[in-house]
Symmetry: C2
Subunit: 226 residues, 2 copies
């Protein structure tokens, strides 16, 4: 899968979150890090070509006053033109997937009715749902990064895996596709790392057991239906 990570952040070098994500992305085949604020004036044709070459777009940004920073808006206004992003036939982005990686400095629980921000992230991001609908793209549930600075080493490791999955896995929210990603990642390290080899074999065995249990459940249900 080819993924274009469209990063909107006016001070990328000062953002530990973005520096961490950039390092994660560097290890992902097919993923391109595309920092809008570094581009100056947009070359519309080049931007459109890069979008067309991708299977997945990921808008990545911190929340500034509950929205993306200015560069994402500027880029959308200039690059996502009528005839390219939408037209009577539906536009040229149809069938691609659209993800969002959104970071903020409050805890996750702040973004809900009755939370300290009293509004859900889903409500705040509704313009992107409308954009995906208009252009015929498949919207992925956002990957939320709350209070990156407070994450433990273990939590950072989990985020590393989650983020790489988000860039490459067909349906990142599906457990089976996450497990397949882990198996592939462990297999790649198995030759040089005996622990990875052991983890790979254990996980593979568990996946087989799971598949077998699911088969049993399917048969039982078929029995019920008779």
């Amino acid at each position: 899968m080819k993924t274009l990570i469209v990063v909107s952040h006016p001070q990328l070098a000062d953002s530990p979150t973005q520096q961490f994500l950039k390092a994660c992305a560097a290890g992902v085949t097919g993923a391109t890090w595309h920092h809008l604020d570094a581009l100056g004036r947009f070359d519309v044709a080049a931007e459109q070509a890069q979008i067309l070459a991708a299977d997945r777009l990921v808008f990545e940004f911190p929340l500034y006053w509950y929205q993306a920073p200015a560069s994402l808006h500027e880029w959308l206004a200039r690059v996502w033109t009528r005839g390219f992003a939408y037209d009577e036939q539906g536009g040229r982005l149809r069938g691609k997937s659209l993800g969002m990686v959104v970071s903020y400095s409050q805890p996750r629980s702040a973004y809900q009715l009755g939370g300290t921000e009293n509004v859900s992230l889903s409500a705040l991001l509704s313009p992107y749902a409308a954009l995906a609908r208009k252009t015929g793209m498949t919207l992925l549930a956002p990957l939320e990064i709350a209070q990156f600075g407070y994450l433990t080493e273990q939590q950072r490791g989990e985020l590393f895996a989650q983020y790489q999955q988000y860039l490459t896995v067909g349906r990142p929210a599906r457990f089976a596709e996450q497990a397949a990603w882990f198996l592939a990642a462990l297999a790649a390290r198995a030759e040089t790392d005996p622990t990875a080899a052991l983890m790979h074999d254990t996980l593979a065995e568990r996946q087989d057991q799971l598949a077998s249990l699911q088969q049993t459940i399917t048969e039982l249900r078929e029995g019920e239906a008779d």
Copy 2:
């Protein structure tokens, strides 16, 4: 009332909607037209002083991909700093009112569940509701301008009055405050325009009749409660 109209539009001269609104605003005492895209780099201290001097802020913009253009986001990120817009004590904008004048090229009915855009303007503007809440400002229902190019002369006249009310009237959605605005506007023209004088007297009489009817209803209700 002092109103700061914060206009975000990258091509103001080409926008008949904004040119119309600018002409309307020119006739309003206390209203300042403030076009962000014309400012270049923001002078933060000057911007903050202008905001503090206003009783009402009105964000005025067309919908670009369901959101405001980039300049409003840039302005908010640079000017609405911590300590100014919010802090532990609540910030310095508390008690001001916040309005929005939002224009778009679809009919009004497009922006609702099941409409062609399948999303409400309220959902799309939820970041501004969150911003008003965070800063302690009173949010006004937005003034929506749908398909300005298709408005008849009469409809433009109505928009003229609506917009001027939106800039100056305490609670623009209240009928009584709208009527008071009309009476004042007609009184101002009465000396030179006999039609305006006649309309003023007729409207004033109707308002008296309304007030008398409302008094009667109040008394009847009090009787019921006995």
